[in-house]
Symmetry: C2
């Protein structure tokens, strides 16, 4: 599978020196940060392999066209929806880093779910603004949600989703999972297809989105799906902001004050995730937002980088890389 040209371009500074040394055994390694614009243009036709974090602005569609030797792109981010598939030849293999962040992102999903269920953020903010007295009871419609024996719906049951489900067992919750194919996991009830999704949403007290963003999953949570959910359900998103329709979720939160949306991920503006929103989400008490931080500690420990490097080495050694994605699912009207 390896092309005759094994030059590798690393477009991020999160790759540690030891990893670069490892990669150097199998290829000539260039770091984007070290290259002046004209030097970059010079080497582009020689690059067979790209190791990327977020997509580098320098690699415009024009420059991609000149990368005639390019055979393989490895993402360090778990998802690959930032890769410009529309500008890539079909022969180029793209690998995600699925599973690399599973443990920390699943923990983060639980942090958001519990913060919302127990209204920790809302109550803490109220205390700061001195809008509380100790009364040991909460107003009707603003109860604390007890999770024990309730249903957790996990949409997308890959690396992250399955860890989210495992943790749910410790809370004595029932776990329902939505996936493309019917999988098997102990104590988990699986749902597939649109009707399966509707079923799961109707029965779930908490719902965690753990799907990649593809043409099939974009805005999977839309007005219709929201209308199927319990009025006091909690929706958690640690995957991609665009899985949820922005206008629909805002209107749903306003209309259903006991419904809660807690997200670490945001909608796209000009092809990039952005904290700028069309609606004032942060002024709603039933919204919790954090700035896409579920993964960084994983970067600090280096595990996602290691996995991406290992997979790149597989390609360079002529082995079939893991986590190859289907480009068809990413050639959509959502070009981010």
């Amino acid at each position: 599978m390896t092309g005759s040209n094994r030059n590798l371009l690393i477009t991020t500074d999160v790759v540690d020196d030891k990893s670069i040394k490892t990669l150097s055994k199998h290829s000539k390694v260039y770091k984007l940060a070290d290259l002046a614009e004209d030097r970059l243009d010079e080497i582009l036709p020689s690059i067979g392999c790209l190791l990327v974090f977020s997509w580098p602005r320098q690699l415009t569609p024009e420059r991609l066209q000149r990368m005639t030797s390019l055979r393989f792109i490895q993402s360090i981010l778990a998802g690959v929806n930032h890769v410009p598939f529309a500008s890539l030849s079909e022969s180029i293999i793209v690998s995600s880093n699925a599973g690399a962040y599973s443990d920390e992102v699943a923990e983060y999903a639980w942090a958001l779910l519990l913060s919302a269920a127990k209204r920790v953020v809302e109550l803490h903010v109220s205390l700061r603004e001195r809008r509380w007295t100790l009364k040991r009871t909460l107003d009707e419609g603003s109860e604390i949600t007890v999770l024990k024996e309730k249903v957790l719906g996990v949409i997308g049951f890959g690396g992250i989703g399955s860890v989210v489900g495992r943790i749910a067992k410790g809370f004595d919750m029932k776990v329902f999972a939505f996936s493309r194919k019917k999988l098997a996991a102990r104590g988990v009830k699986f749902f597939t297809g649109t009707r399966g999704l509707t079923s799961l949403l109707k029965k779930s007290d908490g719902v965690v989105l753990a799907l990649p963003l593809t043409s099939q999953t974009a805005r999977i949570i839309n007005p219709e799906r929201l209308s199927e959910m319990k009025k006091d359900a909690i929706l958690v998103n640690i995957a991609r902001g665009e899985l949820v329709d922005e206008k629909a979720i805002y209107e749903h939160l306003v209309a259903n004050p006991n419904f809660r949306y807690a997200t670490d991920v945001w909608w796209y503006r000009e092809s990039r995730e952005s904290l700028k929103t069309d609606y004032p989400f942060l002024s709603l008490p039933n919204f919790i937002g954090t700035p896409h931080v579920s993964g960084p500690s994983g970067l600090a420990t280096g595990r996602p980088v290691q996995l991406a490097v290992q997979n790149t080495v597989r390609f360079l050694r002529g082995l079939r890389p893991r986590n190859i994605v289907n480009p068809e699912e990413y050639k959509t009207s959502y070009p981010y």
Copy 2:
């Protein structure tokens, strides 16, 4: 064990009608809210049994002295540190409601632990104040804590503590427990005595306080204990505010910005838990506070009331009540 006099005084309105009906089969039931002051004074000497939530202001030490038939006090709150033991004859049996809130309070402990570990409150507040951009990395010293394979220290391994430990297993954490006596629980390492506590604190990445407040446990977390903890540890309190030395924890939080304290419970002012503090905790980014709400949903479902009523019926039927506390542990200089 039952006194000849079975008159029961219920001093709270959280007891439902069905429960009152059940109790009426075994005793003459009075409700404090229905009694004028002079009528209350009239019946006091006839009351054999008290069912209380927080301690009723009307039952002053003077009035308690006139309750010559009193034999049994049942608390609906889990703890009994609000019972004025110093004003009670030794012959009066006092039962806590230990375990009644275990599941919801343990869940709440996890909500606080994860909110602090993942900095959900801090980041959400920062977003509201527009002090953030999407950069996918955090500043040094403000990392997200990954819990997997870390150590959770649970101080007090009763009803709440053991559920906290069970949940920790789902997160793939090691569980260390501190208790009076060495207990046995699968996959849990136990520590006893002051040296045991020191050991546990030194090794724990997260610490959950799940102890009753007694003369032995008041301010168990003091400057010395705090100095033994990891500089980036997370301390969670869902038990009683007075387990932690107020001045010491404030100074520790200021001196160690990566140490976090998340609490649902507060210090006492004039014998009552109060949101008034001696230090501006709510202005610290490494402090999370909520207004003692971990239990209310339990009240809504009625389980703690049911358990307290069942135990009161045991007493009224001449059986030994469960959860009898040792009054010696509550006759302290902490009269709350």
